[in-house]
Subunit: 140 residues, 2 copies
DNA sequence: TTGCGGGTTCAAGCTGACTCGAAGTCAAAT
DNA sequence: ATTTGACTTCGAGTCAGCTTGAACCCGCAA
């Protein structure tokens, strides 16, 4: 019932067959049957692959995604909450990066790290022991 | 004038000496002098290291950071603008991920990929050929 | 003179998520 | 009967950004 070989499964999901073999080897998605040694995938496995694809696309590691797939209720919810918090940190960091870069763009000199007094002052503070976090906190 | 050995430089910046050796080997930050074969760092190099540290901390690759440091004016501005755009994409993706995860959290079942009809319907659409981007676009 | 701390080089290992190449297998079509 | 195409396994290679280990050197203090 509805078993398809690896090439078709890969095509449907827009993944490489080698990727599916790798997932199988890692124990993330194992085809429920083999025909003449060949992996045959069913609907359940295709859904698992789809989930992994989304999760990986949005930045989760395969292990995290698999943990969400396989854990029973209270646990996967906890993992998901942690991931959401992690993404909050990631977004904050990216926004900090944009501020830093925008700031650099606003510098009128040719070569900020050599010619821009403000940039040099900031860098020298880092050399003196200020952490990147402290700098970031200031600019918020 | 103001030359310090690798250990001190590493301490000031909160980096590992092996990291500084690695940066030297990669040609990212080369100490301007050697004393008895030992690397001696000056203020200019410390600033370069500080810049690399910030840039790397906010998610830029070492190569990108070095490109910004070394390129003349119109070029580094272009690189920086591209990085800002890249960060825009990253942030959008992370926010999409949060939506996806929050949506999963809202599911009342024990095991969404097996029991939640809505989740299964979404995954099956991916299996049918819908791209992750299309799904993401729908939910905005 | 010996020991010590802090350097040096070079080569290899690590993580994550694959990708690739070589050599072999299998079923169906010609 | 043979070829084709899709598959199999296994081992190794890729990328970034380091870290670790082995073996060695250098100047200083006891």
């Amino acid at each position: 019932m509805d078993l398809i070989p690896i090439g078709q499964a890969a095509d449907r999901l827009g993944l490489n067959p080698s990727t599916l073999r790798y997932y199988d080897e890692r124990g993330l998605v194992s085809p429920p049957a083999r025909q003449a040694g060949r992996r045959m995938y069913g609907p359940e496995q295709l859904r698992r692959l789809a989930f992994l694809k989304i999760a990986h696309h949005v930045g989760l590691s395969l292990d995290t995604a698999a943990a969400i797939l396989d854990a029973p209720d209270p646990q996967w919810r906890q993992t998901v909450r942690e991931q959401i918090a992690e993404l909050d940190r990631l977004i904050a960091q990216a926004q900090g990066a944009q501020k830093f870069l925008t700031h650099a763009l606003s510098c009128p000199t040719n070569h900020p790290t050599r010619d821009c007094a403000a940039m040099i002052a900031t860098l020298d503070r880092l050399v003196e022991g200020t952490t990147v976090e402290q700098l970031a906190a200031e600019h918020t």
